[in-house]
């Protein structure tokens, strides 16, 4: 049960991480905030993205033997990136949930 908790935490943090990485790009930022004048605060988004990527790796290691955790983590990156790509193509506004207004560059 504890292992399942760690794995769920790993899934969530990988998704968040990939979402923030995607929002670093101006083109994706415009998809999520079409009417917004400024651009993304790339420093903050990259910092959060990297931090949560590390956190997801820690969660995987807490759940499984290191050899298994490495595989889970790599595969989760693929799932998370694909999920974010699909969200951006179909429901980009959903990514606003992980990106409050202060994530924007005042530009």
């Amino acid at each position: 049960m504890i292992e399942a908790g760690w794995l769920i935490a790993a899934v969530v943090s990988t998704m968040l991480s990939m979402g923030w990485f995607a929002l670093c790009y101006q083109s994706h930022w415009k998809q999520v905030f079409p009417g917004h004048a400024g651009g993304p605060n790339t420093f903050l988004l990259k910092l959060l993205g990297r931090g949560f990527l590390l956190l997801s790796a820690v969660c995987c290691l807490a759940a499984d033997h290191p050899s298994m955790a490495a595989l889970v983590w790599i595969m989760l990156l693929a799932v998370a990136a694909m999920t974010v790509a699909m969200l951006l193509s179909r429901r980009p506004q959903w990514l606003r949930l992980i990106c409050p207004s202060f994530f924007a560059d005042k530009g």
Binding site: S67, L71, I74, M75, A78, A81, A85
Partner: protein, 568 residues
């Protein structure tokens, strides 16, 4: 020939990918199915729908089964071809070695053994002559289950992904090996072509023209699962490298083979030859208990995955017990070897060297015997991403050229499109048709497995004929209606398979999900329903597109044109 290195890499990527892409589709799709091969077996053989069991007692359950084991008629016939004179009566052949193998997903136990024969080989270099026998056992009762039913998951879909069922001169293994090598080359050339690798992590624009949107999907599925694609192509080559692709031990080093075995026996203390003195068998259950105690002492308690006994009935007989690797990536291991007549430990295998550990990890990550359901589904996801990547590659190839080919009167795009339909929807139709046949044909039909295989090949062949027959619009720069029509067929067949499972076994989804939960069957049924829904969605979308007036669109940006042209 090309203006730039990148353009030349684009050529390599396109043409190698196209030629071997059809094989890679098979590898990825059936590889993804193989992740749940045992579960598909349970769906296809209703008599085996019970919970997985650990290795049963040898003394009480397995020993009587091995006492009854006989040489298999198939192997009798094969061995007869290799020896001088007639083989003796199978009932008189002594069992020389035996094995039992199970995993955490197997409700049934696979057992087998080698029977000694006095015949001389026709080819003097043909050593280790035996006749093999094998059986499938219900580990709770020791009852031998009929082995005539085809294990569709583990004996058909699984081998399909690594040997294509082309066994003549191991041709299938070689084709798949070349395809794996080409995949590695395609990955490297793909990375070179795409300069904006990380941006393409998240870019998919389905509203754009089919050329642009299929390129997006090709890029995103190739890039996000790049480590998966690389590792699976690489480990596939590693697994077969020593046995098939670079079989040094069977060729150049063959004269040393016998000597190596003797030296290995001296080093490990496990006898290479029989002594000629008969000896009784001590309790194997006691040996299993001792092995488990030693594993627990090493802080890795576990169950038995593989049990092997050699030189049966002789003073030199020994029993090898290997731990099931359910909790880690590596396969069975931590072997402990016992003297069969006394039960004393001959050898406990030391921890693996670094090289052996890496080899075990690479092999284990591909063969995935571990008990980690989330990772297993992630593997399915990775395999399907690979299949999507290749399928969109085909679409890209056709869309890029069909207008030009139509103008020039060439049939090139038409042929590639027909092949693409055959290896995308046609392949899935073949797999699902086999499941439908499995549920429709009577369980006691003689040669039922052979009929199922016939249905598989016929369904695939018909899908090809249909795709080719309907492909004429591609020669006029239009869409092949076979995509849409085969999607409808796939949807219908998938739903039919679920319904037929219910009708013939009574195992409907409410039962397998809620009232008498059995995830193996529920999972296959749910996957079939998901397949049907996706196929219906695709068919409807293609139908809607077919009614639209198609206007060729020009790429807006120079970058767009540059990237698409890189595939030329």
């Amino acid at each position: 020939m090309f203006n730039s290195f990148r353009m030349s890499m684009g050529w390599v990527h396109t043409w190698l990918g196209l030629v071997l892409g059809f094989v890679l589709m098979i590898c990825f799709f059936f590889g993804a199915l193989s992740v749940f091969d045992r579960e598909i077996d349970r769906w296809a053989i209703p008599d085996t729908r019970f919970e997985p069991q650990p290795m049963p007692s040898f003394d009480e359950v397995l020993k009587p089964v091995f006492d009854e084991l006989k040489p298999h008629p198939t192997d009798m016939a094969a061995t007869q071809q290799r020896v001088i004179g007639d083989l003796p009566d199978p009932d008189t052949m002594p069992l020389k070695s035996l094995y039992a193998y199970t995993t955490h997903r197997d409700p049934v136990l696979r057992i087998g053994g080698e029977f000694g024969i006095p015949n001389e080989p026709k080819d003097p270099a043909d050593d280790h002559l035996h006749v093999h026998g094998w059986a499938t056992v219900n580990p709770t009762t020791g009852e031998t289950l009929s082995d005539s039913a085809l294990k569709i998951g583990s004996d058909w879909f699984y081998p399909m992904h690594f040997n294509l069922h082309l066994r003549w001169n191991m041709l299938g293994y070689w084709i798949v090996g070349v395809a794996a090598l080409v995949l590695l080359a395609a990955l490297v050339t793909g990375v070179i072509i795409h300069r904006k690798l990380f941006r393409e992590f998240f870019t998919f624009r389905p509203w754009k023209h089919v050329l642009r949107s299929s390129l997006d999907l090709h890029n995103v599925t190739g890039v996000v699962a790049l480590p998966f694609h690389f590792f699976f192509a690489f480990t596939a080559l590693v697994i077969f490298a020593t046995n098939i692709y670079l079989p040094l031990s069977h060729t150049t080093l063959k004269p040393l083979h016998e000597q190596h075995e003797k030296l290995e026996a001296e080093r490990t203390g496990l006898p290479h030859e029989e002594s000629g003195e008969a000896a009784p068998l001590a309790s194997v259950d006691a040996m299993v208990a001792e092995a488990k105690r030693r594993w627990a002492e090493r802080d890795m308690p576990g169950e038995v995955g593989y049990l092997f006994m050699d030189h049966i009935g002789d003073e030199n007989s020994y029993v090898s017990i290997y731990r099931a690797g359910s909790d880690r990536v590596a396969l069975v291991g931590e072997g402990i070897h016992f003297k069969a007549s006394t039960g004393e430990v001959i050898r406990e295998e030391p921890p693996r060297s670094v090289v052996a550990s890496i080899d075990e990890f690479l092999t284990g990550l591909h063969l995935q015997h571990f008990e980690h359901w989330m990772l297993r589904w992630l593997y399915v996801f990775g395999g399907l991403l690979g299949a999507i990547c290749i399928a969109t590659g085909f679409i890209l190839f056709v869309e890029k050229r069909k207008a030009r080919h139509a103008k020039a009167g060439s049939q090139g795009s038409r042929i590639v499109d027909a092949m693409a339909v055959t290896t995308v929807t046609g392949m899935v139709i073949a797999a699902v048709s086999m499941l439908v046949a499995n549920r429709i044909l009577p369980a006691d039909l003689a040669g039922k497995g052979q009929w199922e295989q016939t249905v598989f090949w016929w369904a695939w062949g018909l899908a090809f004929l249909h795709a080719a027959w309907r492909s004429s619009p591609v020669a006029k720069a239009r869409v092949n209606p076979a995509w849409r029509e085969q999607s409808w067929v796939l949807a219908a067949l998938s739903l039919l398979a679920v319904v037929m499972n219910w009708v013939t076994t009574g195992d409907h989804l409410i039962k397998t999900l809620f009232t008498d939960t059995y995830w193996a069957v529920a999972g296959v049924d749910l996957s079939l329903i998901a397949t049907a829904l996706i196929a219906m969605l695709v068919a409807r979308k293609l139908g809607a597109k077919a009614t639209e007036t198609v206007k060729p669109k020009r790429g807006k940006s120079a970058q767009h044109n540059k990237q698409v042209n890189a595939y030329d």
